[in-house]
């Protein structure tokens, strides 16, 4: 017989290294040939940080995103951006790019005001050009301006470091004022179907509401939430590394199962844009928080479906069959 159940879980996640560890990201921006070059060591492992920082720089500098190039992850060319971990790159490198872009924009206004013999409020930037509001035809591209600046022996470029402080927790109490830079919150409700004969659990639907401050790229964020949640479902239902005497007995994907397309549920996702005061455009991290709620929500849904409470993951078919048998007899 197949029994349906619903379960819910709510999580909060403090991101960045936190706890007083030095945590920062350094970014520089300069003009190069026909493009704008952002130097960052932030590693894009698929989560989309390079897309996000391209959007941020394009937004601040009023420039076509296609003109932006990124020189990434080269110790010769880039400074420290910290690791792609701790759900931190959008917040840290996003902020560093925002600051560097703002500084560059300030310089563009400064040098252009000298060229146009005008005041900053009289100037307008649009599509990679700057001009006086009363004379839009007489405009300078950023690249033309960079050339003029270099002829003066100066440089039209910028660098910024985002380096927020956090507090180490008190050794005795574990408390501190500001342990992490910010927190992401998420609630998920899942619906499962439990086959009481085979013990198999199918996750039918996942409803997610995540307070992420601001979704700089909503589709990327959805992808992160879907991917993280399916990893969480894997932890809840199948992923089990069996170690005996220090040896992993299932070091392959036949013995260690991960979710396939067959295990992918339907998603309904609400992005709650409750802007964070310190995030770039209010954005917070979404990577790790997206996978935390799935396991408790699935366990709660299984309890709702068959009345059995599990305290150990993964909740495999054999555990469910045994529990149902113990419950009946």
């Amino acid at each position: 017989m197949k029994k349906r159940g619903q379960g819910m879980a709510t999580i909060m996640f403090g991101f960045g290294y936190g706890e007083g560890f030095p945590d920062h990201s350094i970014v520089s921006i300069e003009f190069e040939d026909e493009s704008l070059l952002i130097r960052t060591a932030a590693a894009d492992v698929g989560q989309g940080v390079l897309t996000v920082i391209t959007q941020i720089a394009a937004e601040i500098l009023k420039i076509d995103p296609d003109l932006i190039k990124i020189s990434q992850g080269d110790t010769h060319l880039t400074k420290n951006s910290g690791s792609t971990s701790a759900t931190r790159q959008t917040f840290f490198t996003g902020n560093a790019v925002k600051q560097a872009a703002e500084e560059l924009l300030g310089k563009i206004y400064h040098y252009a005001s000298l060229e146009f013999r005008s005041n900053h409020p009289e100037l307008i930037v649009k599509d990679g050009h700057i001009f006086r509001h009363d004379d839009p035809e007489n405009k300078l591209s950023y690249w033309q301006l960079a050339e003029i600046v270099s002829q003066k022996g100066e440089e039209l470029k910028s660098e910024a470091s985002f380096f927020p402080a956090t507090d180490a927790p008190d050794a005795a109490t574990g408390q501190a004022d500001n342990v992490y830079v910010a927190y992401t919150f998420m609630t998920q409700k899942v619906e499962v179907e439990v086959d009481t004969v085979t013990g198999e659990v199918e996750v039918i639907e996942v409803n997610t509401a995540m307070d992420l401050g601001k979704a700089i790229n909503p589709r990327n964020v959805e992808g992160q939430i879907e991917g993280g949640t399916v990893q969480g479902i894997g932890m809840a239902l199948m992923e089990d590394q069996v170690i005996q005497n220090g040896i992993t007995l299932n070091p392959d994907l036949t013995g260690y199962l991960v979710p396939t397309a067959m295990d992918s549920p339907h998603f309904k996702t609400s992005l709650i844009e409750n802007e964070d005061a310190d995030g770039p455009f209010g954005a917070k991290g979404v990577g790790e928080p997206s996978m935390i709620a799935a396991a408790p929500a699935v366990a709660n849904a299984i309890h709702d479906a068959i009345g059995v409470r599990f305290y150990e993951l993964p909740i495999t078919p054999d555990k469910i069959k045994k529990a149902l048998k113990d419950k009946i007899f």
Binding site: G46, Q47, G223, G227, T260, A261, F267
Partner: protein, 161 residues
């Protein structure tokens, strides 16, 4: 030993050994590095290519078996700068994250759509079930296959490969 195989419509001769894997011939000898090695034992689908019209894990195909075969790798899907509709659909739906599974996933999608032009959700999931993706949760990949089906239907019989 020498084998002859057609890769992406081009006839190639390769000096190899009978026990060399098709995966290594493609990557090391012919430099089609779009084909990825994941598990190396036919479990993950990263090395998927289409051989004689069928989806295979190229890590499980030996050189001798590939002699005389027609192979399609991810590099053979686009025509010049013109992406295949399935590739377009993956980009438009955001179905790519780290990208490691993507070549195999796209070829599995194409193979499915060759067999079943208008698959339902369950057929899509089954068609992709031999390819593991750790990033996306598959949602947007399934969406991409649905979009691919619509794109291919819209273009009628033009897309023969």
């Amino acid at each position: 030993m020498k084998i002859t195989l057609t890769v992406n419509d081009e006839k190639r001769e390769v000096e190899t050994s009978p026990t060399t894997r098709l995966l290594d011939i493609l990557r090391d000898d012919l430099h089609f590095t779009g084909t990825k090695e994941g598990c190396g034992k036919g479990e993950c689908g990263a090395c998927t290519v289409i051989m004689n019209g069928k989806l295979v894990s190229s890590c499980l195909v030996l050189a001798l078996q590939a002699d005389g075969a027609e192979i399609l790798t991810i590099e053979g899907l686009s025509k010049g700068d013109q992406l295949h509709p399935v590739q377009e659909a993956y980009i438009e739906t955001g179905a790519v994250q780290c990208g490691f599974c993507t070549p195999g996933m796209i070829l599995a999608s194409k193979s499915l759509l060759d067999r079943i032009p208008d698959p339902d959700e369950q057929q899509i999931k089954r068609g992709l079930s031999g390819n593991i993706c750790r990033c996306t949760g598959y949602t947007k990949i399934i969406e991409a296959v649905k979009l691919s089906a619509r794109k291919l239907a819209g273009k009628g019989g033009e897309e023969d490969e």
